[in-house]
């Protein structure tokens, strides 16, 4: 059995900013070895784990992106570093965060700005722009230039902590919660019989271009696919009508980016096996790996399952362990029931 809490902790606390996903991949490889699952890396760095089915009826791809949002050094300014974001960071939450600068050496630093009482008179203290922020590693200009380069990546530094109700908070739960869920699936599949070959792909650079999903779906050329990502759980500062919540199970998406046959089959299995789930309407593209996978090669029946989290794209994302386990259970059951009927064109399938 996979030690889910510990695996999620190390996955959350390690760093893997888009294009530099080595550390989380190493953690995943260690777990895959324990589960006796074979894996390889492709030319762009995707980690592809394969578990053959009894009959090899078809190929099913499960994609979880393994990269995280971060920062990148853009300039030196005396004793601090200027930066911009890699992926969609909320600028309002950066001040006062601890970071690791991945230069020639790893340097711990903080994101600072000039404190209000040191502001030149007359300048506004309220507005906060990225230009006002900088990274301070406590070294002088000469030492900084010896250790850091323009383009050095920067990750946030945050301890993974336990809250009440089996909820956990940390950084990069987008998308390490899904990485953990994919490991849960391989764990479940050691006990569940399945005919299809399963390709678990830990994709790179989802937060930037979706490179990993584009290339891996072309390479694997699956007959059907599911992307696992995180979704929004309702927060107290959301509209009261917001539908999806954490601890209410995986979110099954519906809409043009989603194959109806696969989605309906997934919902039926969730109902039959009493796995709590929620449905989310996605009227356009989903902003996940599912977007690229669906239009790969000649088109691939694709679906999306999201793990609801709070405070997405902040270093205090919150997830319920129950939702991760349920996602693992739902998709592994789905794998065991896969058949060509599910893949029929949309009208036939419904």
């Amino acid at each position: 059995m996979i030690e889910l809490k510990e695996v999620l902790r190390v996955l959350s606390e390690t760093d893997g900013v888009s294009s530099c996903e080595k550390n989380p991949k190493e953690i995943v490889k260690k777990e895959l070895k324990k589960l006796n699952v074979k894996f390889s890396e492709d030319v762009v760095g995707n980690l592809v784990a394969v578990k053959k089915g009894r009959l090899g009826t078809g190929k099913f791809m499960i994609a979880s992106h393994i990269d995280e949002i971060g920062l990148i050094v853009t300039a030196f300014d005396e004793n601090v570093l200027k930066f911009t974001t890699v992926g969609g960071f909320d600028k309002r939450i950066l001040l006062g965060q601890e970071v690791v600068v991945h230069g020639k050496k790893e340097l711990i630093g903080v994101i600072g700005s000039i404190p209000p009482h040191f502001f030149p008179k007359g300048t506004s203290k309220k507005v906060l722009l990225t230009e006002d922020l900088f990274i301070d590693v406590g070294l002088d200009e000469r030492e900084i230039k010896r250790n850091v380069e323009i383009g050095s990546l920067v990750s946030l530094k945050k301890d993974f902590v336990e809250l009440y109700s089996e909820r956990y908070s940390g950084k990069s739960l987008d998308n390490r919660a899904s990485v953990a869920a994919l490991l849960c699936i391989f764990d479940e599949l050691t006990r569940i019989k399945h005919d299809w070959d399963v390709y678990g792909v830990f994709t790179v650079q989802e937060e930037i271009t979706g490179l990993g999903a584009v290339s891996s779906s072309y390479n694997v050329f699956p007959d059907a696919a599911v992307a696992i990502d995180v979704g929004f759980g309702k927060q107290v500062d959301f509209s009261p009508n917001f539908t999806t919540e954490i601890e209410k199970g995986p979110i099954i998406a519906t809409g043009p980016n989603i194959h109806t046959g696969l989605k309906n089959a997934m919902i039926k299995i969730a109902e039959d096996y009493e796995v709590p789930y929620q449905v989310e309407a996605e009227p356009g593209t989903t902003g996940t790996d599912a977007e690229a996978i669906q239009i790969s090669r000649e088109g691939i029946p694709t679906t999306l399952v999201s793990i609801p989290i709070l405070y997405m794209h902040t270093p205090v994302e919150v997830v319920s362990m129950k939702d991760i386990r349920r996602t693992g259970r739902l998709i592994s059951l789905f794998v065991s029931f896969l058949n060509s009927e599910m893949l029929k064109g949309d009208k036939d399938a419904t």
Binding site: R92, L95, G96, V110, G138, S169, Y311, P315
Partner: protein, 338 residues
């Protein structure tokens, strides 16, 4: 390192007991007497071989933090600041409860869902909330209104000389007094660890009324100002350039003769020092100076960047030089006999 333990302890204004107990336990063998007054100030005394001058060194134990003000039906907690914290450093931080270490986070709306006008706007503290993972108010367990909450920051050395942590303002000063008490001086010496500095220098108020020192030296962790892009504005105090001496801040003008003596000793002993930018901040000296018939006060401070935020940076050589300078100043005052 004392500073490491002191920085990791949680103690905002009114919640200084943990810090006080830590100090009491360790300073006991170096003090001739110890007392805790009605405001929670810890007053330590070291007898001298001579009667005069009576010297008082002080540092405040409290730090800035938060307090739970509301337990809401929806499972979140409303909170207020204890002391001055820039609202821009609060969002998306992990917190811990002082009394039992329970963790919580200050949530933020995901950037994907922000309205255009919200992108550069920091919400008011009344719009923020603490999430401890409670599904409703029924899950709050032992959380009570009035509980103190702190940034969940750990002390760490990040390079050969620089450390990061919270509350260097003013655990640096507490640590200095504890180190100074290990020394021997000719004159009687009070070491005061004060309370409630961050909400208006309140602990120091009664210290000035109660004790009758001839000289007072406040030991502080003060904000460093050595940031780039400040154009013509002064950057003092710098990290790594020695103790910062106050000429004037918002709370007082330092005693000129005492300040001159400190500078003279620094020069003679070859200890680097810098003058703090006038007009910024305030310390317990502001209260003690105007107590009774007036007291000669000065401030010697270790500069730290980003005080009153989740994580500050301090240069250990500044700490060492501040300790050295304070020690020589005390020796000199003791030898002066008046």
């Amino acid at each position: 390192m004392l500073l490491e333990k002191l920085s990791n302890l949680d103690g905002a204004s009114g919640d200084e007991a943990r810090v006080r107990e830590f100090i009491q336990k360790r300073i006991r063998k170096y003090a001739d007497s110890m007392e805790i007054d009605a405001l929670g100030n810890l007053i330590c005394f070291k007898k001298g071989r001579v009667k005069k001058p009576i010297v008082l060194i002080a540092a405040h134990m409290d730090e800035v933090g938060f307090m739970v003000t509301e337990k809401r039906q929806n499972g979140t907690l409303g909170f207020s600041k204890v002391g001055g914290i820039d609202s821009r450093v609060i969002l998306a931080k992990t917190l811990r409860f002082g009394k039992n270490g329970t963790k919580g986070v200050i949530g933020a709306k995901p950037v994907h869902l922000l309205k255009k006008e919200e992108v550069t706007k920091i919400p008011g503290i009344d719009e923020m909330y603490i999430d401890v993972g409670a599904k409703s108010h029924k899950d709050f367990k032992d959380i009570e209104v009035g509980d103190y909450v702190y940034f969940d920051t750990c002390f760490e050395k990040i390079s050969a000389k620089v450390v990061k942590g919270k509350a260097f303002d003013d655990r640096a000063g507490c640590s200095l007094i504890m180190d100074l008490f290990k020394e021997k001086f000719r004159m009687p010496l009070y070491g005061v660890f004060s309370t409630q500095e961050e909400i208006g220098l309140r602990g120091a108020m009664v210290i000035g009324n109660r004790l009758r020192p001839d000289y007072v030296i406040i030991l502080e962790g003060t904000g460093a100002g050595d940031f780039p892009s400040k154009k013509d504005n002064s950057k003092s105090p710098f990290l790594g350039k020695g103790p910062a001496l106050t000429v004037m801040d918002k709370s007082m003008i330092a005693d000129k003769k005492l300040l001159e003596l400190i500078i003279k000793i620094a020069k003679r002993k070859g200890i680097p020092y810098q003058l703090k930018q006038p007009g910024i901040g305030g310390t317990d000296a502001g209260r003690i100076q105007i107590s009774r018939k007036g007291v000669k006060c000065a401030v010697i401070a270790v500069p730290a960047r980003y005080i009153h935020s989740p994580v500050c940076l301090m240069n250990l050589s500044d700490y060492g030089n501040t300790l050295k300078l304070a020690k020589f100043v005390l020796k000199r005052l003791g030898d002066s006999g008046k």
